[in-house]
């Protein structure tokens, strides 16, 4: 049985192709001059450069965190190139017609057509290729509603007051080692502003693609939902199959003002490396949102890629009656390692949080849930419910749970539960007795295990996530 499952897990990485796009790439290396050049390339104002440099100086003083249950060789930050852009992007194309067809083909191959006519109605896409945003679709339609959806490099120039006010307001520059690095060298990412009382007319989506070799991707996303507004945002990512490890260190900041709601969904499918652990992306990401009064932030993530994942999308429940949610599926196989979870910091009264984390470990991989639930003294009547379930496939993997529960308020209620199980022989037998082949049986059982999380994903993504799991599990049985 286990052997069968292992076989199913030895799948191909479908997004592993390299695009033949001419690029302009910095020499590897990192010092203040590199940061100056990035800022220059982006045509940034002085304050932005200063901001970056101060973060860089902080970073130099910091130490790489070692508390996560992941193991990887020391990263040589001087061996990474911090900027790479398709040549054709030098003079930014004004419309889709001017975009390098090879770039459009890349996204099409990944199943993300950027030609608006072909797009699934109701999703606007910002496509980020290596260090730059290639194209953002449906901008006119969004502008009509007053929604700003553009590359962050553009927002720095066009909406400096918003960026100045909120950039670094949720994740401080020196929050952690990778966040500080990101502050210093981030190149692009998406910026979203939803005005007061506005329901964003369509789903917003950013699609990240690392193409160039030896480059790091450091994107920065900032989403501000003003009072009473509502937005659903999707994020996807892939990278070519390369033998070297590549670094991805992103920062995402969400601000949900009073009564606003942000739904942030991620399907993370960076290249995981081969079955022997060669290559793959190091995915060190800081994601955090702040909820003001009666606001709600909901994180949903499906993590199937990356060689190493270090990621804790979190909510600061500052306002009274605010709500934080975290729904996660993390699948590791081969030699993948994932240490992921969330932090729910309850500050306001009657704040509520829900955490549903499903970990699936197969092959020789290790998956860990690491979470923190904190009830501050002022969090009267706050509630948390946490459910962490792990599924082990085979006897060479590991599944771990590290929840921190801290309460300082006697009226707060916290419930945490964790379980471990495996795909049982009985379940497999039932499925096969009904005529299902073992692969289908495993993927169906695993999908069932993840159901509570998948139902939180927007429709299109739910289908994609289900498929991704299926592909990931392909050959795990046989």
């Amino acid at each position: 049985m286990t052997e069968q499952i292992d076989k199913a897990l030895a799948r191909e990485y479908e997004a592993g192709f390299v695009s033949d796009v001419e690029s302009e790439t910095f020499e590897p290396g990192l010092d203040e001059s590199v940061i100056q050049r990035i800022s220059e390339m982006k045509g940034e104002p002085e304050w932005m450069l200063e901001w970056r440099l101060s973060a860089f100086r902080e970073w130099l003083e910091m130490e790489e965190p070692d508390w996560a249950l992941v193991d990887y060789p020391k990263i040589d930050f001087q061996a990474i190139s911090y900027y790479s852009a398709p040549k054709s992007m030098k003079d930014k194309p004004k419309s889709l017609d001017e975009v390098d067809p090879e770039l459009l083909r890349t996204y099409e191959k990944l199943g993300i057509p950027l030609i608006e006519q072909q797009m699934l109605a109701g999703i606007a896409v910002d496509a980020v290729f290596d260090s730059v945003s290639v194209v953002t679709t449906f901008r006119d339609k969004l502008e009509e509603a007053g929604v700003i959806f553009c590359p962050i490099s553009e927002a720095i120039k066009k909406h400096p007051e918003l960026v100045k006010k909120y950039l670094g307001s949720v994740v401080a520059k020196k929050d952690n080692y990778y966040a500080a690095l990101n502050c210093a060298v981030f190149t692009d990412g998406s910026f979203v502003y939803i005005p007061k009382g506005t329901r964003c007319p369509m789903e917003l989506s950013t699609y990240f693609r690392i193409n160039e070799q030896n480059t790091g991707q450091f994107e920065r996303t900032l989403i501000i939902a003003d009072e009473g507004s509502h937005v659903s945002y999707l994020e996807g990512c892939t990278a070519p199959q390369r033998d070297e490890n590549q670094l991805h260190a992103a920062v995402v900041e969400l601000v949900a003002m009073d009564n606003a709601e942000i739904k942030y969904s991620t399907v993370q499918n960076w290249y995981p490396g081969d079955e022997n652990g060669k290559g793959g992306i190091y995915n060190f990401v800081t994601k955090r949102g702040i909820c003001h009064t009666s606001a709600k932030i909901s994180w949903t993530q499906v993590e199937t890629g990356s060689a190493v994942t270090w990621k804790y999308p979190s909510c600061i429940l500052k306002g009274d009656n605010s709500v934080g949610e975290f729904y996660s599926v993390a699948l590791t196989r081969g030699r993948q390692q994932a240490d992921t979870g969330t932090k729910m910091i309850h500050i306001g009264k009657n704040t509520k949080s829900t955490i549903i984390a499903k970990g699936i470990s197969a092959g020789k991989s290790n998956g860990s849930y690491r979470g923190l639930v904190r009830m501050n003294p002022g969090a009267d009547g706050a509630r948390n419910f946490t459910q962490c379930d792990s599924l082990l496939i085979g006897d060479q993997c590991g599944a771990h749970t590290f929840p921190y529960v801290e309460s300082r308020n006697p009226s707060a209620i916290i419930e945490h539960e964790a379980t471990t199980s495996k795909v049982s022989d009985e379940q497999m037998f039932l499925c096969r007795q009904r005529g299902l082949d073992p692969e289908k049986a495993v993927s169906m059982i695993v999908n069932g295990f993840c159901k509570e999380v998948f139902k939180e994903l927007p429709m299109e993504f739910a289908v994609e996530a289900g498929k991704l799991l299926e592909i990931s599990l392909e050959g795990s049985v046989g």
């Binding site: 082990l392 085979g394 006897d395 749970t401 929840p403 801290e406 309460s407 209620i413 964790a418």
Partner: protein, 419 residues
């Protein structure tokens, strides 16, 4: 490194006795150990200020202290006073098959054996365990012969007078098929500091009933550990009761070194005032077919702080393990704190492991309702919430101990204030 640790190391260097090689090893490890800070995971919630500030000193003079009487309990008494083994208080006639001796008085062969076994169950990661290795004055060796059932429990009492520093150490081994009950108790008066470590080796088919009472309160610092090694089909049942103090830290390690071992651990702590109690309970399932069940319940009032870390580690070979941890907490004031971290680390697939942790509150409305019906606040409190501690008391195998501790715990709970 702290001054306290430096001085401890210096003092330890001056000791030269039968444990010399083990002490040297501990000192070597200590010399490279960093003094814990908030960033040290094992001490994340438990600052060591009170150790750093401690003025406790080793007291050489003979002080007369004796353990409290427990009605209905007739135990074999093993008493340390300020760290010194008090031979005069040892029960004179021991049952057949039981031996209790001071390490330095053992005959050569036995001493070599005891030396070999010393500090092999207690993991090296415990900083104060290493301090104890280096500084323990008298090491007492207890053993039960094969197949022997000792009806009377052994009570190990560590008694401290004001300002005393002590480091006590006991090594217990149960040979195959034997049975033994051990009660560990620390009774200290203010400003003292002690480390008390006991290692238990439970051979195949043996059964150990274990209690650890940490009822000292106030300003003393009590750090210790109980460490268990279970062989094939060995069983243990442990009950821990803690009231906290300036700093109370207990590390337990249960190691399933054999197959089909069975471990139960019930811990309860009730903290008031500025007390702190920190329990780190680790279970290592190294072999298949083991079972572990842990229940940890805690009530915290006023400005007290409770820390719990419950780690269950299932090794690759430990298939068919059943392990469960249940942690329930009641928080009674918003200046009190509960920090709990149940952990699972699992490397085998055919296992059933689960943990649950809850933090809840005293139902203030129900409390009020009962008060309006004329029930006193403290009575109402006990009526409404004592049950969850009482359940664990009911599970104590020794009825005399249960009946002794029940009113003590009840009294403590009724004194706690809901804020």
């Amino acid at each position: 490194m702290s001054e306290w640790l430096e001085s401890a190391i210096t003092r330890a260097r001056g000791i030269n006795d039968w444990l010399a090689p083990k002490r040297a090893h501990a000192l070597e490890l200590l010399s490279t150990t960093k003094w814990p800070t908030r960033k040290t995971e094992a001490w994340r919630y438990t600052p060591l200020r009170s150790v750093e500030r401690s003025t406790a000193k080793v007291i050489k003079d003979v002080v007369a202290l004796s353990p409290v009487d427990i009605a209905g309990l007739s135990a074999i008494e093993l008493v340390f006073v300020n760290g010194k083994f008090d031979a005069s208080q040892l029960t004179k006639i021991l049952p057949e098959g039981l031996s209790i001796s001071l390490g330095q008085t053992l005959e050569n062969a036995q001493q070599a054996q005891a030396l070999n076994a010393f500090s092999t169950i207690k993991p090296e990661r415990h900083l104060f365990g290493l301090v104890n290795d280096a500084l323990a004055q008298d090491v007492v060796v207890v053993s039960v012969a094969e197949g022997v059932e000792i009806a009377q429990p052994i009570r190990i009492s560590s008694l401290l007078s004001h300002g005393a520093e002590s480091h006590t150490r006991v090594q217990v081994s149960l040979a195959a098929g034997s049975r033994l009950a051990v009660i560990e108790d620390v009774q200290a008066s203010g400003d003292s500091l002690n480390t008390a470590f006991v290692e238990y080796d439970v051979a195949s088919n043996a059964y150990l009933e274990h209690y650890r009472f940490a009822l000292q309160t106030g300003t003393n610092v009590a750090i210790g550990g109980s460490h268990f090694n279970l062989h094939d089909h060995a069983k243990m049942h442990s009950t821990i009761v803690g009231f906290g103090s300036d700093l109370s830290r207990l590390d337990t390690d249960i190691i399933h070194a054999g197959q089909f071992a069975d471990a139960k651990l019930n811990a309860m702590y009730l903290l008031d005032g500025k007390e702190l109690f920190d329990l780190h309970a680790t279970v290592e399932h190294a072999m298949p077919n083991g079972t572990t069940e842990e229940n940890v319940r805690c009530i915290v009032a006023d400005r007290a702080r409770a820390v719990f870390n419950g780690r269950i580690h299932i090794h690759r070979d430990a298939q068919k393990t059943l392990a469960e941890l249940n942690n329930r907490n009641l928080l009674m004031s918003n200046t009190a704190e509960i920090n709990t971290k149940p952990e699972l680390e699992i490397y085998a697939d055919d296992v059933k492991c689960a943990h649950g942790a809850t933090v809840a509150q005293i139902d203030k409305q129900a409390l009020y309702y009962l008060q309006t019906r004329g029930v006193s606040r403290s009575k109402a409190q006990v009526m409404l919430n004592f049950g969850f501690i009482n359940e664990l008391i009911d599970l104590m195998p020794n009825a005399a101990l249960a009946e002794w501790i029940r009113p003590i715990i009840r009294e403590r709970f009724s004194q706690m204030e809901v804020k």
